[in-house]
Amino acid sequence: MTMLQGFQIALHALRLNPLRSFLTMLGIVIGVASIVTVFAIGSGAQLRLQEQIRSIGANVLMITPGAVYQGGVRLKDGSKLTMTESDVQAILEQIPEVQAAAGSIAGTAQVIHEGKNWNTTINGTTTGHFMVRDWQLATGRYFSGTEEAGAGKVVILGSTVARELFAPGDDPIGAQIRIMKVPLEVVGVLDRKGPAQDDVAFVPLATAKLRFLGSASNINRDSVAYIIAKVAGDGQMAGSRSEIENLLRQRHRVPAGQEDDFKVQDPAAAMEAQQGAIRTVALLLVAIASVSLLVGGISIMNVMIVSVTERTREIGIRRALGGRMRDIRLQFLCEALVLCLLGGAIGVAGGVTLSMTVARMAGWVTSIDGQAIGLALAFSIATGLIFGFYPAHKASKLSPIEALKTE
């Protein structure tokens, strides 16, 4: 008897009792579906983080305001803009490893072009920002020196904003848009960087302070909300970081022993750590899901043992008609395998559906990769072989004479 014949016989036997067959494979279905779903959600979260890491750019340090004391009261981090444009200048001039740096202030506002409008982040910054983040233009140009110095009424759009404000055929370059009643000329549109990053409009830092965000500015006209800096070379992140910290402590006159009023972070490193954590949680969940595969395997073994007992006479007949012990074993092993494979396939379909539903309803990014599906199916085949072997072996060991006597 060939493997193919074994599968034909197995399919025939399982079709005779579809409900029982389905219930038997349910454990495998649930196990595989959960493994696929957990994998999809886990790798989706990792993809999202990777995208964020990529969007920040390589070797980037981010300097944000830290704790501030006012009359002995410790205020929330970032409640005061402690960083200034001259800090940016100092970092650029005094720390040779820093290739580019830029300060930013940001807020949200409605942007309007003719009949269309869109709510987005307005980021006031300098051209250095794009250098730090390795962010290329799709069309147009960056800010000119005059525009940066003279608060020029110009704007560079992220691709999402450009898409929302302009019809597909329209060229945004040279068009007038309005932000908080101020007309601005679009001078550039940026490349796509990722859904979360592309929803932004950049204006010169001076323009943002003068026209939009600076009026209620907490300290002075020189301040910025955060600074990003690009460090040359992979190995120099830690060194540059402490150099920046020393420089800023000096400039901000932070007394020794007191907490800094700023924070220097390596966002990529932080996100990588987060990614590791996600991976650990995902693996843990997969391990839990694997338990249900185990339970599914046991339920298959149980049903198969009952089935062998029920079909003792059939086994006797097959043996009398020339079935060898290994033919009988193959027949029952094939049944277990078909149950597991079918259960695995249904589980994969269920898992894919479930993760797509989760993606839609919860707005999570999920990613279904072939590797996870292959792994889940391999697991179910292994389950079939392991838990099908004993019943199949038992069936093959039956004496044909005794088997033919049973009713």
């Binding site: 008897m1 060939t2 014949q5 034909q8 016989i9 025939h12 036997a13 005779l16 006479r313 059939e314 006797g316 007949i317 097959r318 043996r319 009398a320 008609l321 020339g322 079935g323 060898r324 012990m325 290994r326 033919d327 044909p400 004479i401 033919l404």
Partner: protein, 241 residues
């Protein structure tokens, strides 16, 4: 005896079962030959060892004493797998209770032994059709056993026994579950098969059936008590009952 060995040869065959330390002898010191083309009835009351004898001739069991030879080869020398393969190719079983697989239709039941001969589905079904035709059951090819009468089921079982063109057909009380008229039809079918040269061994406790076979072996308490071959005129009479 001719130069070629007899189809089946039993030499001082004995079979003792040992269950829970108690030895039960089902067959002792039985010797006989069966030649190609014979039709033999094995008779005896229940418990006389008929079924044990049939299991040994059918390669389902091995003797504990003596030897069974199939075409001159001692079956005890064959591996379990080899004996299984020989059952598929050389032995056709017909049982009292038909033993058809309830969940397969007639043609699939008939084709079953060929699965174990490694024959592809298309050829299996073609040969099963021919075999069903030979027993007059082709019109029931796609009926399931429960949709067939006892006589029809036994015809399907005979078609299954014949499909691999076996050396020998072993029938264990083939009419035991049938009414007398249907039983007579089945016996006539066996007689017709035998006329085409098919070797048949039939186990029965019914002297009327044994009388229709050319040769009758009588068993009692596991021992051979008589091996009768009536006058050559008898089968001619019995051919038209």
């Amino acid at each position: 005896m001719t130069a070629s060995p007899p189809l089946i040869s039993l030499q001082s065959v004995g079979r003792t079962y040992r269950t829970d330390g108690v030895a039960v002898t089902a067959v002792r010191n039985v010797s006989f030959d069966i030649a190609q083309g014979e039709i033999v009835a094995v008779m005896g009351p229940s418990g006389s060892g008929k079924s044990t004898l049939m299991n040994m001739i059918g390669l389902l069991d091995l003797p504990s004493e003596g030897a069974v030879y199939l075409e001159g080869a001692d079956v005890a020398d064959l591996s379990e797998d080899r004996r299984s393969s020989l059952r598929a190719r050389s032995i056709g079983f017909v049982f009292q209770s038909y033993n058809l697989l309830a969940r397969h239709d007639a043609i699939e039941n008939v084709a079953l032994p060929l699965v174990y001969c490694g024959i592809g589905r298309r050829e299996r079904l073609a040969r099963a059709e021919a075999s069903l035709q030979a027993v007059g059951m082709l019109h029931r090819a796609h009926h399931f056993p429960r949709q067939l009468s006892g006589g029809e089921q036994q015809r399907v079982a005979i078609a299954r026994a014949l499909i691999a063109s076996p050396l020998i057909v072993l029938a264990d009380e083939p009419t035991g579950a049938l009414d007398s008229r249907t039983g007579a039809e089945i016996l006539a079918l066996f007689a017709a098969l035998n006329r085409t040269g098919q070797t048949i061994v039939m186990i029965t406790h019914d002297p009327g059936i044994a009388a229709q076979c050319r040769r009758t072996i009588h068993l009692h308490d596991g021992e051979l008590v008589a091996d009768e071959t009536p006058a050559p005129a008898l089968p001619k009479r019995s051919a038209a009952p």
